[in-house]
């Protein structure tokens, strides 16, 4: 059956496929996926949205089916679904269908739906992704709904909203605020005779503290991987710069030396064994629940304030833990911390019921009952009234997180503009595999690595601005 003809058959089959591809591309534009994404240009997207569901701000009185999507794990799913049930009780004519997934599954699902013109009405968004969605015309501005009172933002300060704005329009509403922190083990600090870090500590202090704890107790100073791009952003923020320039068309810094020093510090700490080795970081792939810190083998751990609950739970009730701000660069001008919307709610341009979508976002933001269920799971709510209302119900870890954020108030740096659309490509294809790994495995020097990063990242960012 498969004699000499095999080669020829393969060739003919491939040729045939090519031909069919060419024909189908040429003569059936409407049925083709190449045409299917309904968003050829941002301007065009408003049109189909307007025809199916007028951008009017009147709620439909008829029965409406609203679609909502988010990422998270089971705890967030359970809580959000309860909130949705409350919402349905309040608005009996609205029936909500919902889709949930983990962060890594959420994006394939959402982008597939976007390609099919089938995005849900309400979509949870991320700081690193939403600008790309805005640029592609997939999100609608929420300003009209704020103007007509559908979304009420009483007492919400601008600094909590600015993170969701592109070109002055609010596309994504902060679903909860967090900030960057190190969780530290007070008992270990005490045993090692190390003072609790001051809020303005530097990475030099961090290194000294780590080494001292390691020398005295034999545990690691820090558990976990500190090459997360978010931490690098904080590093440059403390120097009055940022990871990206304001217009997002280049990196936000021109002198890579602070980053070189930072990498050198990590290497030195690994050399001194006060930080777990790169090999172990990669092998054990620490999560907020499974890491050397929760296992009691390190004294510090980096976490965002809304993740601290998970760290506390996994570490067990016997530990004495505390949150401190992220260290600053040596010679810092300002705090390395900033208030970050941990995630957003947004309304898509493919929404069939944008008005009801806005109503849900309002409900989530302003309903006391809803927030008593969520209990700051997505971060501290933006509404001061809600914060006051849920304060008595918060579990200890969340109380600490809220206190931590309160203490930071007035002492944080302003948030940088959202990450440019190329952010994902830069972190996935350049930062991790071509910069961090080669430096941390000792294949290239920190200086060479940082140089490569700056060249390649600027190339991508610059290319992105070309038409």
């Amino acid at each position: 059956m498969f004699g000499k003809k095999q080669g020829r058959s393969t060739f003919i089959a491939l040729l045939a496929l090519l031909l069919i591809a060419a024909i189908s591309y040429a003569c059936a534009p409407a049925a083709q996926p190449t045409q299917a994404p309904p968003t050829s240009a941002p301007a065009a997207t408003q049109a189909p949205a307007a025809t199916t569901a007028p951008q009017s701000t009147t709620a439909s009185a008829e029965n409406v089916e609203l679609r909502i999507a988010w990422w998270g794990s089971q705890v967030r799913h359970d809580q959000t679904i309860k909130v949705i049930e409350l919402f349905e009780q309040k608005y009996p004519n609205i029936k909500v269908t919902y889709e949930y997934a983990t962060f890594s599954d959420y994006w394939p699902k959402m982008t597939t739906e976007a390609a099919g013109g089938n995005l849900p009405d309400v979509m949870q968004q991320d700081y690193a992704y939403y600008v790309g969605f805005v640029n592609d015309g997939l999100l609608v501005p929420l300003d009209p709904y704020i103007a007509d009172g559908t979304i009420k933002l009483e007492g919400v300060t601008d600094d909590l909203l600015n993170g969701g704005k592109v070109d002055g329009k609010l596309y994504a509403l902060n679903a909860g605020t967090n900030s960057q922190s190190f969780v530290i083990d007070l008992d270990m600090f005490q045993k090692a005779g190390v003072d609790v870090p001051k809020p303005d500590w530097t990475w030099q202090d961090f290194q000294d503290v780590s080494n001292k704890i390691h020398d005295k107790l034999g545990v690691f100073g820090n558990g976990g991987d500190l090459t997360n791009i978010q931490i690098v952003n904080c590093l440059f923020l403390s120097l009055g710069e940022g990871l990206y320039s304001d217009d997002g068309k280049s990196l936000g810094f021109t002198d890579g030396q602070p980053l070189v020093d930072y990498f050198q510090r990590m290497l030195d700490m690994q050399q001194a064994k006060s930080m777990i080795s790169r090999e172990q970081q990669v092998a054990d792939k620490e999560t907020i629940e499974k890491n050397t810190f929760t296992a009691g083998k390190s004294a510090m751990y980096f976490a965002h304030s809304n993740q601290v609950l998970a760290v506390y739970k996994a570490a067990g009730p016997d530990r004495h833990l505390k949150m401190v701000p992220v260290p600053r660069a040596v010679g810092a001008k300002q705090s390395a911390n900033y208030f970050k919307p941990s995630m957003f709610w947004s309304v898509t341009s493919q929404a069939k019921h944008p008005k009801e979508a806005a109503m849900f976002i309002d409900f989530y933001t302003n309903s006391v009952e809803a927030n008593k269920i969520m209990l700051a799971e997505r971060g501290i709510p933006i509404s001061p009234a809600i914060n006051a209302a849920i304060a008595p119900d918060l579990p200890p870890a969340q109380v600490e997180a809220a206190a931590f954020l309160k203490a930071l108030q007035g002492n944080v740096s302003p948030i940088r503009p959202p990450d440019p659309g190329k952010h994902n490509e830069i972190t996935t294809n350049i930062w991790g595999p071509q910069v961090v790994d080669p430096i941390m495995y000792g294949q290239i020097t920190p200086a060479d690595g940082v140089k490569l990063y700056m060249t390649e990242a600027n190339k991508l960012l610059g290319a992105a601005t070309k038409p």
Binding site: G7, L17, A21, Y25, Q32, N424, P433
Partner: protein, 317 residues
């Protein structure tokens, strides 16, 4: 016996004409042929061909899922071959995997299938036990489990410590990372093993009986009966394991995510990242079609050389 020992794939030319003619009537029949394969043809034209063709077209565009594609000519291929260091790393990792994991897995599967193809007491339990690892599949649990086993304080290090081998981070070490995935693939040898077992079952016992009567020992029986009779199934496993080896994805996706140092960045994983992490579906499609060509070449070569060793009972006249 002798015709068995000499596997031939060609019809014997000396077959009587009369028999040949009758056989032709049975063999050549367009209507019946298309009738039987009609379901597949409908599925192919209805569900498979269009997406395949579309992905081929997208390979020449900058499609990124959330915006309409633009035609970019050969740009994707040019970037891939000339400007993307990670691409070549993914090619290297994939070839390494295919040429280690696939043969190891097949040898294991065949060995265990032979060992378990008897009627000893408890054999079903053993067979089940060997198959169980193959059903843990793609759950999050398997990723955590595997990382624990090979973790710095995992059971593998504990065992090796008994033999005086110092502990290391198997998954985190660029020299050993890929081997943990190969080991995982070998550990999950259940599916080729089952196919081999089914193949062994199909070999008529009479062959062995008459061979025993002829005084043939175990080894000649293995070489002269088992291997030739099993050869269609061996070919199947070889081809399909090779194809799935080139497409290897799940283990690296769940456990290593391509690291350390891109040593486990398998082709399909990189393609997935390009498609669904950075949303460069055009580039991803271009990668996919190059992969298809690579696999097609290797598969065609395997089929071509298979005529030398694969023996089809149907062709024995």
């Amino acid at each position: 016996m002798s015709s068995l020992v000499q596997p031939t794939t060609q019809d014997t030319p000396a077959a009587p004409m009369q028999r040949r003619a009758k056989k032709k009537s049975l063999r050549h029949d367009n209507r019946a042929g298309y009738l039987f394969i009609a379901p597949w043809l409908i599925g192919f034209f209805g569900f498979t061909l269009l997406p395949m063709a579309a992905s081929l077209v997208l390979a020449f565009t900058d499609y990124r899922l959330t915006a309409a594609p633009h035609f970019v000519g050969l740009d994707n291929f040019q970037t891939m071959f000339l400007q993307d260091p990670r691409y070549w790393k993914s090619v290297r990792a994939t070839f390494f995997y295919v040429f280690t994991a696939v043969p190891l897995r097949l040898i294991f599967a065949l060995g265990l299938a032979l060992l378990l193809n008897n009627t000893r007491r408890g054999i079903s339990a053993y067979r089940a036990a060997f198959y169980v690892p193959s059903i843990v599949g793609a759950s999050v649990a398997v990723a955590i489990m595997w990382r624990q086993l090979f973790g710095t304080e995992g059971i593998v290090n504990a065992l090796l410590w008994l033999f005086g081998i110092p502990p290391t981070s198997w998954i985190g070490n660029p020299n050993t990372g890929i081997w943990t995935l190969i080991l995982l693939a070998v550990w999950q040898f259940g599916s080729p093993m089952l196919i081999f077992l089914a193949g062994l079952k199909q070999i008529p016992q009479e062959l062995y009986e008459s061979a025993s009567i002829d005084g043939a020992n175990a080894w000649p029986q293995f070489i002269n009966i088992t291997i030739p009779m099993l050869s269609p199934v061996i070919l199947f496993n070889l081809v399909l394991q090779m194809i799935s080896g080139f497409l290897v994805f799940t283990q690296a996706f769940l456990i290593t995510e391509g690291g350390p140092l891109d040593t486990t960045l398998f082709y399909a994983l990189y393609l997935y990242q390009r498609a669904f992490v950075t949303f460069q579906m055009g580039y991803s499609s271009a990668m996919a079609w190059v992969l298809l060509l690579i696999i097609a070449v290797f598969t065609a070569l395997t089929f071509k050389f298979s005529s030398n060793w694969v023996f089809y009972e149907e062709k024995r006249d």
